[in-house]
């Protein structure tokens, strides 16, 4: 029997995990950051589509923890640990955080991409997870896909095609 490659989708401001085989993907990353955590030995992977840098600015009643870098990363790590991943083996990769539009003289809102990247890096350092690859910045959108069996992250963009890391 042929095993069908399963695709786990991660929406905007969402996070999910996948085990053993299949791919986990998120589409249309602009200023958002797609962050993956992976345990190569156990072959479990998690992905978060982070939209905003910090939950300090949240004005919502029910906090969506997947939306903010400072809350999504610990939540994602927690999910992986529950599946048996070892904190010492987990490595992270990330992509996105671009600046699609550049305006002169507008405040921090438009710099949201770089801020998302910075915030993710800070949180990773706090959680002691090494960032082994990143493709961030620029002014274009990305779709990313992590193959759980290999740990390779595929990054697709309109202008530059597919890149792997």
């Amino acid at each position: 029997m042929i095993e069908e490659q399963s695709i786990v989708k991660v929406g905007m401001a969402d996070l999910n995990v996948v085990q053993r085989s299949g791919v986990i993907r998120t589409v249309g990353l602009g200023s958002c950051v797609g962050l993956t955590m992976y345990d190569p030995q156990l072959k479990v992977a998690g992905m978060a589509h982070v939209m905003l840098p910090s939950s300090d600015i949240a004005r919502e009643g029910q906090l969506n923890i997947a939306k903010y870098a400072d809350t999504a990363l610990p939540a994602l790590l927690d999910k992986l640990l529950k599946l048996g991943a070892s904190p010492s083996r987990i490595v992270a990769k990330m992509a996105g955080g671009s600046q699609m539009f550049v305006f002169v003289g507008t405040g921090d809102t438009m710099r949201i991409g770089p801020r998302n990247v910075e915030s993710c890096k800070l949180k990773l350092a706090e959680l002691h997870i090494p960032l082994i690859a990143e493709d961030t910045g620029g002014n274009y959108g990305r779709t990313i896909e992590l193959d759980v069996s290999t740990g390779i992250l595929y990054i697709r963009s309109v202008q530059t095609g597919v890149k792997e890391m």
Binding site: G11, M12, A13, V27, G28, L29, G30, S31, C32, M51, L52, I57, A58, R59, E60, G61, N64, K67, S98, M100, F101, V102, F103, V104, T106, T109, M110, I112, N139, Y140, G141, R142, T143, V158
Partner: protein, 209 residues
């Protein structure tokens, strides 16, 4: 976000009228530019999840051309003018006589600059009619043009709503040039706090949702 779920029909109608006036003026501007009639669909005002907003233009991965303006002033918000690459080519051909070089979906600098200017004119007329109607000051930033995945582009319009929830209230107007070769969409996403100002300026009571 609860607030927006309880907007009465009447308030939705007011917002539709806002979209109608803005896009109506933009359609008139486009019609003058093309010297052809331009039709417009009845505006839709909907509270949509982030994913659903991308679905409106064919999904988060769909390549679109967008002209984006941040609206500043009394009622800040985000305004997008969105075209498919095909529609953009056809618009360029009709308007400035730039024949498509190759049909590879790519645009050169000249074409992008022309599109940016067209977007600027249309978005400017959308916004100025809105400002006249509401008597609110609304000044656009210099428009920025991008051709990329819809999800990547539209997420910029959702940052303000993102702080409050996972939905955004969108005023969506589609317009079509006479023989339907050029189809475009206006998305107005006022910041969450701007709705009260818009209603107030139009004499809609804000207290009784």
């Amino acid at each position: 976000m609860e607030v927006f779920k309880h907007f009465k029909e009447f308030k939705m109608d007011v917002l539709k009228e806002v979209g109608n006036i803005g896009a109506g003026n933009a359609a008139t501007a486009l019609s003058r530019l093309l010297d052809k009639p331009v039709d417009m669909a009845v505006p839709k005002v909907q509270l949509l999840s982030f994913e659903e907003i991308s679905e409106k233009v064919g999904g988060a991965e769909q390549v679109v051309i967008a002209i984006f303006l941040r609206v500043e002033g009394d009622a800040p918000g985000n305004l997008f003018f969105i075209l498919s690459p095909e529609a953009a080519k056809s618009l360029l051909k009709r308007l400035v006589g730039i024949p498509p070089e190759k049909d590879d979906g790519l645009f050169n600098e000249m074409e992008l600059s022309a599109l940016s200017e067209i977007g600027n004119i249309l978005a400017g007329s959308y916004l100025s009619s809105l400002a006249d109607f509401t008597q609110l000051s609304m000044s656009p930033t210099v428009p920025a043009l991008a051709m990329d995945m819809a999800g990547a582009i539209l997420s910029y319009g959702l940052l303000q709503f993102g702080q409050m929830g996972d939905d955004a209230l969108l005023i969506d107007t589609t317009f079509l040039e006479g023989d339907h070769e050029v189809e475009g969409q206006f998305f107005l996403i006022p910041d969450p706090d701007s709705f009260a100002k818009i209603f107030q300026s139009l004499g809609v009571p804000v207290d009784h949702d």
